[in-house]
Amino acid sequence: MSFAHKHIISTKVLSRADIDLILTTAQSFKEINQRDIKKVPTLRGKTIINLFYENSTRTRTSFELAGKRMSADTINIAAASSSVSKGETLEDTAKNIEAMDADVIVMRHPASGAPDYLAHRLSRCSVINAGDGAHEHPTQSLLDLMTIKEHKGTLEGLTVAIIGDIARSRVARSNLYALKTMGATVRLAGPSTMLPPGLEELGAEVYTDINAAIKDADVVMMLRIQLEREGGGKLLPTKREYAQFFALNPENMKLAKPDAIVMHPGPLNRGVEISSYVADGKQNVILEQVENGVAVRMALLYLLTGGSDKE
C-alpha cells in the first residue's frame, strides 16, 4: 500500500487508488465510532493543530474528535484568539506551530490557496485543507463520497447533481474533481449569477434549470445559500425567489431516481435551499455525512502520519 501524499490540499491530485484507499481505511475507522469506548491508541504522541481562520464548529469538531479518538493531542487555535489578530503573518504563525513539533496542521482559511502556501513553507508538518476560500474542501468531499458509496455500493456511473452557489463553493469544486475521478457524472446547477465561468472545462455539466439537473440523478446535493454575504443582493433578488426556483422540495425530488439520496454539507437554511420535508425525509443522509466525516478524517490523519517517510 502506498499513499504518496504528504498534504491533503485538493482532491484534484488524488488518484482513484488514493480515494479507494482513503475510503477503505475510513470504513475500518468507522467501527471505532460505534464502540462504547471510542478510542484507539494509534496516534499516541502525535500532535494535531486545528488552525482555523474562519469559524466552523462542525468541521473543527469533526477533526478534533478524529484526532482524539486516535489518541493524538489536538489543539484548536482560532484566529481571533491568537497572535493572528496581532498581525502576525501566516508563515510566522505556521512556523511557530511547527517548531512545537506538530505533526499535522488542519487549516481553514478565507483566502484560496492559503493551505497550499503553508504546505510549501513547512518542512516536516503535514497540512490538511479544511476549506480555503472558494477553492477546495477535500475532506468534505471525501466524506460525501464515502456516504454515497455506502448507499450506492459504487461511485462509477452515478449521476450527482450539486445545486446552489457554485461560484463560492469549495465543496462543489472538491466534489467535482473527486467524483469525476471515480467515474461519476457531475451536474452543477444554480442561478446564472452563481455559476462561474469554465465549469465545463473542469469537467462538469452545467444547468440553470434545477429540474433538469435533478432528473434521474442518483444523488442530489444542496449547497448553503448565504445571502448575507457581501454583494448578495446583486446575485439574487430574494431568498423567497431562490426558494421558488432553486430549492429542493418534495415535488422536484420526484424527478430524481426513486432511490436517490439527498445530501447537504450543512448548516442547512431550511426553507431556502432545502424544504424541511426533504431535509427530514427518508432519502436524506445528512447526518450520515456528519458521522462519516469523523471516520474520513481519522483515515486521513492515519494515512498522513502512520508512515515514516514522506517526501
Binding site: S2, F3, L21, T25, R35, I37, P41, M70, A299, S308
Partner: protein, 179 residues
C-alpha cells in the same frame, strides 16, 4: 526466491490440527456455550472460521465468530515507510463475560497478540482470553504463550512461515521459507 521451501503441513495435517484444537477447546471450556472466536486479520480470521466449522460438526452449535484488525494497536505505527493498511474489526456481538478465543495463524514475537488483547479489552470485558494458533515458531519478545497449538516449529529468526489459503479461506499448506 528463497533458497529453500519446505512444506510443514499439508491440507490433511492442517485439518487434523484444527480438529485437535477444536476438541481441546471444547474439553477445556466444557463445551462452547460461552465461547466466542475472534480471528486476527489477516490469516487468523480464516483459521478461526475453520475452527468454528469443526466445532459445528462436533457439537452442532455455531460459535459466534468475529475478526479483529490490530493495525491501530500496533506498537510500531509510523515505523514503516508507508502506513500499514488498516483492516476492519468486525465483532458483531458483546464480548463482556465471554470466553474469548483469539485465533492466529502463526505465533512469533507475541506483539500482534498483545495488540489484539488491547483491542479486545477496548471493545469489551471478557471473562477470559485464550489463544489458539496453527503454528508456534518461537522467538517470543513478550511473556505470551498459546493455550492451543497446531504444531510447534523451531525456526531461525530470518526464516519465514507462509500459510496458503484457497479462495474460500481454507488453509491449504504451511511452508517454511529459508533465506
Amino acid at each position: 526466491m528463497p533458497a529453500t521451501c519446505t512444506t510443514l503441513l499439508n491440507n490433511e495435517a492442517i485439518r487434523r490440527a484444527i480438529t485437535r484444537i477444536s476438541h481441546q477447546l471444547l474439553e477445556k471450556n466444557k463445551g462452547c456455550d460461552n465461547m466466542v472466536l475472534v480471528g486476527i486479520r489477516t490469516g487468523g480470521d480464516h483459521i478461526a472460521r475453520m475452527i468454528q466449522q469443526k466445532i459445528a460438526e462436533i457439537e452442532q452449535i455455531e460459535v459466534p465468530l468475529g475478526a479483529v484488525d490490530v493495525t491501530m494497536y500496533r506498537d510500531d505505527v509510523g515505523s514503516t515507510r508507508d502506513p500499514r493498511p488498516v483492516g476492519k474489526t468486525e465483532i458483531p456481538f458483546k464480548l463482556d463475560k465471554r470466553n474469548v478465543v483469539l485465533v492466529d495463524e502463526v505465533l512469533f514475537t507475541g506483539r500482534t497478540i498483545r495488540a489484539a488483547m488491547d483491542a479486545i479489552m477496548d471493545i469489551g470485558r471478557p471473562a477470559n482470553i485464550q489463544l489458539a494458533v496453527l503454528i508456534d515458531r518461537g522467538h517470543r519478545e513478550l511473556p505470551i504463550r498459546a493455550d492451543y497449538v497446531g504444531r510447534n516449529v523451531p525456526t531461525a529468526a530470518l526464516e519465514k512461515i507462509e500459510v496458503e489459503f484457497d479462495p474460500s479461506g481454507e488453509a491449504q499448506e504451511v511452508r517454511l521459507l529459508k533465506p
